[in-house]
C-alpha cells in the first residue's frame, strides 16, 4: 500500500536520548544508540537464559511450581513428598520392610493405577459413543475401524476392566492372608468390600454399552435375577403378594422398563460413566486416607507368639 510513506507507518523509536533536530547526521546517531541498546538487552537476555537453563531450580517459575528445594538432603526428600498433593497420601518415611514387594504384592496400588487408566481411556471413549439404541453399536464399529487408535483404546478399556476385577480379588486375598483387617483396620476392610462391589458393578454396567448380543444377553441374564428378589421382585417369594408386577418391581427400576431396551442402555451409561465412578472415587479416597490414619501398611510386622496374647478388654 503506497499511502504509508516514510516513518509514518512505524512507531517512533522509544529510546532516543538526543532529541533530533531534524537533519541526517542526528538520525544516524539515534540508530546507532538504538542498536547498541538492543545489543545490551540481548546479551542480558542470553545471560539470563543461560542461568535459567544451567540452574532451573533457581528460577521463580520453578520455585512457584514445586514450592520446596529438591536436593539430596533428607529434609528436601521428605518435603518433596509431603508438599505434593498427589504424593502426600504417603508419609515421608515408611518402615524399611514395608516396601518389600512380597508383602503387599503391590496389588492395591496396581488396582488403583489400572482404575486411573480406565478413567482415562473411558473418557476418550466417551467422545465417540452415544448411549442410544440407534447408534451405540455403530459407534463401536466406528471406534474399531475408523477412529485413530480407537481399537487400541477400546481394547485397553476392556482388558483393563478385567484386569482390575482380578487385581481387586487378589488384593483382598492378600489382605486376608496377612490378617490386615484386624484391629485397627476393621473399617477399612469394610470400605474395601464396598470397593469390590463397586468394581464389579462398574464392569457389569459397562458390559451392556456396546449393545451387542454378548452384552445384551449377559445383562438380561443378570437383571433377570432381580425379578426374583424376595418381596421386591414380581417373580420372587412373596413378591406377588406385595403387589409386584413386571412394571413396578426392582427390575423395572434398574432397567427403566420391563425389558433391556433403550432406557436400560441410558441407565447403564449414566451409572457406568458418571454415578459409580464418582462413588467409587470417593470410597477410594476414604480407603487411602484410612490406610494412613490406621498407621500405614499393617506390616510386615514382627510375629507375635501364642504365649504373648493379651487378655481381651471387657466392655
Amino acid at each position: 500500500m503506497p499511502e504509508t510513506n516514510g516513518n509514518d507507518g512505524k512507531p517512533a523509536p522509544p529510546a532516543a536520548p538526543a532529541a533530533g533536530n531534524g537533519n541526517g547526521a542526528g538520525n544516524g546517531g539515534k540508530v546507532a544508540a538504538v542498536v547498541a541498546g538492543a545489543k545490551a538487552v540481548k546479551t542480558r537476555a542470553v545471560e539470563e537464559m543461560k542461568g535459567a537453563i544451567k540452574a532451573p531450580e533457581k528460577t521463580d517459575l520453578w520455585k512457584s511450581v514445586l514450592r520446596v528445594k529438591h536436593d539430596e538432603t533428607p529434609r528436601s526428600r521428605a518435603l518433596g513428598v509431603l508438599s505434593n498433593v498427589f504424593l502426600h497420601l504417603h508419609p515421608a518415611k515408611v518402615n524399611r520392610d514395608a516396601v518389600a514387594y512380597n508383602y503387599t504384592w503391590g496389588m492395591g496400588g496396581m488396582t488403583f493405577y489400572v482404575y486411573i487408566t480406565l478413567v482415562f481411556t473411558g473418557t476418550l471413549l466417551m467422545f465417540y459413543y452415544h448411549p442410544s439404541k440407534v447408534v451405540a453399536f455403530r459407534d463401536i464399529l466406528y471406534l474399531d475401524s475408523d477412529v485413530p487408535f480407537g481399537k487400541l483404546l477400546r481394547n485397553m478399556h476392556r482388558w483393563g476392566a478385567h484386569l482390575m476385577v482380578i487385581m481387586v480379588e487378589l488384593h483382598m486375598f492378600r489382605v486376608f492372608l496377612t490378617g490386615s483387617y484386624k484391629k485397627p483396620r476393621e473399617f477399612n476392610w469394610v470400605v474395601g468390600v464396598l470397593l469390590l462391589v463397586l468394581t464389579l458393578l462398574l464392569s457389569f454396567t459397562g458390559y451392556l454399552l456396546p449393545d451387542d448380543q454378548l452384552g445384551f444377553w449377559a445383562v438380561t441374564v443378570g437383571t433377570n435375577m432381580a425379578r426374583a428378589t424376595p418381596l421386591l421382585g414380581h417373580g420372587g417369594p412373596f413378591g406377588p403378594q406385595m403387589g409386584m408386577t413386571p412394571f413396578n418391581d426392582v427390575r423395572f427400576g434398574l432397567l427403566g422398563g420391563s425389558i433391556v431396551d433403550s432406557n436400560a442402555l441410558l441407565r447403564a451409561y449414566i451409572w457406568h460413566c458418571v454415578a459409580i465412578p464418582i462413588i467409587a472415587s470417593a470410597f477410594m479416597v476414604v480407603h487411602f486416607w484410612r490406610v494412613r490414619k490406621d498407621g500405614g501398611i499393617s506390616g510386615p510386622a514382627p510375629v507375635v507368639l501364642e504365649s504373648e496374647i493379651k487378655e481381651p478388654r471387657k466392655i
Binding site: T117, W159, V165, L200, Q213, T229, V303, L305
Partner: protein, 311 residues
C-alpha cells in the same frame, strides 16, 4: 478329543481373563502361603527359644544391626510404584495390541444366545442357579456374601497374625477363606466359563458342544421321596429338614471351632453375638456344597417346597 472346541473356548477373548485366573490365583496362593510357612518356622523357633525371642527382630526379612528402621518414601517407595505403573502399562498395551475386544452381532431380543452367560465374574452365581432358585442364587447369596465379607473383621476374635503371613496361628480362618474364595468362588467361575455349554450342560474340556444334546435328569423333591403329599405336610416337612440341617451344621462347625486347644482359647474370647453371627454365615456358606452333593448324589431338586418359595 475335540481340540478345536477346546481352543475355541479357551481363546474366546472374554475367556482369556479366566485362563489368566487359572494361573495367577494358584501362583499368589503359593506365594502367600510360602511366606506363611516361613513365618511359622520362625514362630516355632522363637517359641522353643525364649532367649532368642527377646532379641530377634521377629521377621523373615533380612536384618542387620545398625540398619535404619525407616526409609524415605522418595525414592525407595515411589520408584517401585513408578516401575509397577510402567510394567502394568506395558502388560495392558501388549494385551490390547495382541487381542481384540469381542463384539458380536447387534443385540437382538428375538435371538437367544445359547449358552447365554453373565460376565465371567458373576458366573459363580450363575452356576449356583443349577442348585438354587434365582431368588437365592441371584439375590440372597450375593447379599450374604457381601455382608459376610464385611463382618469378617468383627467376628474374628483371634488377635494373632495381624500384619504378617501365617498359617499355624490362623488355621481355621485361612482354611475357611481359601475354601470360600478358591473352592467356591474361583472354581465355580472356572466351571461356568470353561465347562458349561449349550443349555448350561456339563461338557468336559475337549468334548464337542452338542447343541442338540438332551439330558433327562429325573430330579425329585425330597418330600416326594418320603412320600409326603399335601401342602401343609410338605411345608412342615421342609421346615423340619432345613432346621435339622442348620442344627447339624451348627454342631459340626462348633466341633471344628473348638477342636484344638488353641481354637478353644480363641473361642473363649468370642462374645455370644460374634459366635452366633459366625455360625449363621458359616452354616449358609456350607449349604452350597451340601446342596451340590444332594443334587449330584441323590438327584434332589428341592427339600422345602411351599407355594411361595422352594429351597
Amino acid at each position: 478329543m475335540d481340540l478345536h472346541q477346546l481352543w475355541t473356548i479357551v481363546s474366546t477373548p472374554d475367556n482369556v481373563p479366566i485362563v489368566l485366573l487359572l494361573f495367577v490365583v494358584p501362583f499368589y496362593a503359593w506365594y502367600g502361603l510360602r511366606q506363611a510357612f516361613a513365618n511359622d518356622r520362625l514362630i516355632a523357633q522363637l517359641e522353643g527359644n525364649p532367649e532368642m525371642a527377646k532379641t530377634h527382630h521377629r521377621k523373615i526379612q533380612p536384618f542387620k544391626a545398625g540398619w535404619t528402621r525407616e526409609v524415605h518414601v522418595w525414592p525407595y517407595l515411589l520408584r517401585i510404584e513408578f516401575l509397577a505403573a510402567i510394567i502394568v502399562t506395558v502388560i495392558l498395551m501388549v494385551w490390547s495390541i495382541t487381542l481384540n475386544a469381542p463384539l458380536e452381532e447387534p443385540s437382538n431380543p428375538t435371538l437367544t444366545m445359547n449358552p447365554s452367560k453373565a460376565p465371567w465374574y458373576f458366573l459363580g452365581l450363575q452356576e449356583m442357579l443349577v442348585y438354587f432358585d434365582p431368588w437365592i442364587a441371584g439375590v440372597v447369596m450375593p447379599s450374604l456374601i457381601i455382608v459376610g465379607l464385611m463382618v469378617i473383621p468383627y467376628i474374628d476374635a483371634n488377635p494373632l497374625g495381624n500384619g504378617y503371613y501365617t498359617y499355624k496361628q490362623r488355621k481355621f480362618s485361612i482354611l475357611t477363606f481359601i475354601f470360600g474364595f478358591i473352592v467356591l468362588w474361583v472354581s465355580m467361575i472356572v466351571i461356568g466359563t470353561l465347562i458349561r455349554g449349550p443349555g448350561w450342560m456339563w461338557f468336559w474340556p475337549g468334548t464337542t458342544w452338542d447343541h442338540n444334546r438332551l439330558i433327562f435328569e429325573v430330579n425329585r423333591d425330597l418330600p416326594d421321596l418320603f412320600g409326603i403329599a399335601g401342602r401343609a405336610g410338605k411345608i412342615i416337612f421342609g421346615a423340619v429338614v432345613v432346621g435339622a440341617y442348620f442344627l447339624a451344621a451348627a454342631v459340626l462347625i462348633h466341633k471344628l471351632i473348638t477342636k484344638t486347644a488353641f481354637n478353644r482359647k480363641i473361642y473363649a474370647r468370642m462374645s455370644v453375638l460374634q459366635y452366633v453371627t459366625m455360625q449363621v454365615f458359616l452354616i449358609i456358606m456350607l449349604s452350597l456344597p451340601v446342596k451340590i452333593l444332594a443334587r449330584q448324589l441323590f438327584r434332589i431338586k428341592y427339600v422345602w417346597v411351599t407355594p411361595w418359595f422352594n429351597i
